[in-house]
């Protein structure tokens, strides 16, 4: 496993200032199959971080390269989350796919919202924008109620559409919130959906505290290896 950086290009053509470098974790031995990973978003990113890395290790053992790039505003990024939008993330995601020369993409949960839809790959535990947003808004209403305030999902989102919102500690800009409200995903012939039931066990995003499950990580890697046409014997 190697830790490096990558630099997304400025999103507006002609913009002079470049974006800050972002973290890039790779297992790269220039092998034939190269999977670019788009992790889960926000709170779920933390809960699935260890799972995601164990999965990458399992892919490596199966003879498959992988890369996990931070996108601006996510994980260790220095860029402010409040300034990010799904459309900007999508452009960065495509840049990352080109730089890594990805043969496939794997999107985890809400990561599917920004992963390239015209490249072959998988979506694991797919979570669309409205559902993701609804979970964050619900957490906020429960926290507000605990603090003796009465906020509903409707009043929160109305305010957020104008000024942005901090939900569960994540500061989301108005543009991103509006995108999430309508960000649904359509099936693509090149992208296979992987359901949680295929991994035997509950999704780790449900965990109250971040956890791990090496067996689930290995099963997901096995599904990907099979999809790449890598046989188990080759992986040993």
């Amino acid at each position: 496993m190697e830790f490096g950086t990558w630099s997304p290009e400025p999103l507006e053509p002609g913009a002079s200032s470049s974006l800050p470098d972002e973290l890039l974790v790779t297992f790269d031995e220039a092998r034939a199959h190269r999977v670019l990973i788009f992790p889960a978003l926000f709170d779920e990113a933390n809960k699935l971080r260890r799972f995601t890395l164990s999965f990458m290790r399992a892919l490596d053992e199966a003879g498959i390269d992988s890369a996990l790039p931070d996108l601006p505003g996510c994980n260790e990024s220095l860029a402010p989350l409040a300034a990010q939008t799904i459309s900007d993330w999508q452009r960065c995601a495509e840049q990352a796919a080109q730089r890594f020369q990805a043969t496939h993409c794997l999107a985890i949960r809400g990561g599917a919202l920004l992963a390239p839809s015209d490249r072959p790959g998988w979506r694991y535990g797919l979570l669309d924008g409205p559902k993701l947003l609804s979970g964050l808004l619900r957490a906020q209403t429960i926290a507000a109620r605990e603090a003796g305030l009465n906020e509903t999902r409707e009043t929160l989102i109305e305010r957020g559409r104008e000024r942005g919102l901090t939900l569960g500690g994540w500061t989301l800009g108005a543009s991103l919130l509006k995108e999430l409200e309508t960000a649904t995903l359509t099936p693509s012939p090149q992208i296979e959906e992987i359901e949680q039931a295929q991994l035997d066990g509950g999704g780790l995003w449900l965990r109250a505290e971040p956890g791990e499950d090496p067996q689930q990580a290995a099963t997901l890697a096995h599904i990907i290896a099979k999809g790449c046409g890598v046989k188990d014997e080759e992986a040993r």
Binding site: D43, K131, S134, G135, L136, R138, A139, Q140, T141, I142, A143, R145, E146, T152, R153, G168, G201, G202, G203, W205, L206, R207, A208, E209, G211
Partner: protein, 115 residues
């Protein structure tokens, strides 16, 4: 920390029964709901199945388990919606419903009966 059983009166006799594992369920449908809810809580709280099975009506949840914060509860409610095919409104969510396993199961059972 005081905990009071939040179960409907009609189930009270069953609660005091020796069948501690079946704290609220009075019918097969309710038992199935209880099993499903325990399975979801096992996923949320990283419990072994036998520990999840030991949950009873008085087992404290939100406000009793520090790891069960608002984000985890939101995830729990969303999973309940998906698994039971019900919709949980903001107004449905109150302290009583979330405080104990019995309260949550009673809510799920009555909500699925309406669906």
């Amino acid at each position: 920390m005081s905990s009071k059983p939040i179960v409907h009166d009609e189930f009270a006799s069953e609660t005091s029964d020796s069948t501690k594992l079946r704290v609220v369920a009075k019918s097969d449908t309710d038992r199935s709901a209880e099993d499903t809810l325990k399975s979801i809580l096992a996923d949320v709280l990283a419990l072994e199945r036998e520990d999840a099975d030991a949950l009873d009506a008085d087992s404290g949840l939100f406000g009793h388990m520090p790891e069960l914060d608002s984000m985890a509860v939101a995830g729990l409610l969303t999973e309940i919606e998906d698994r039971f095919d019900i919709v949980i409104e903001d107004d449905d969510v109150d302290g009583e419903m979330l405080e104990t396993f019995g309260g949550l199961l009673g809510f799920v059972v009555s909500k699925t009966a309406q669906a």
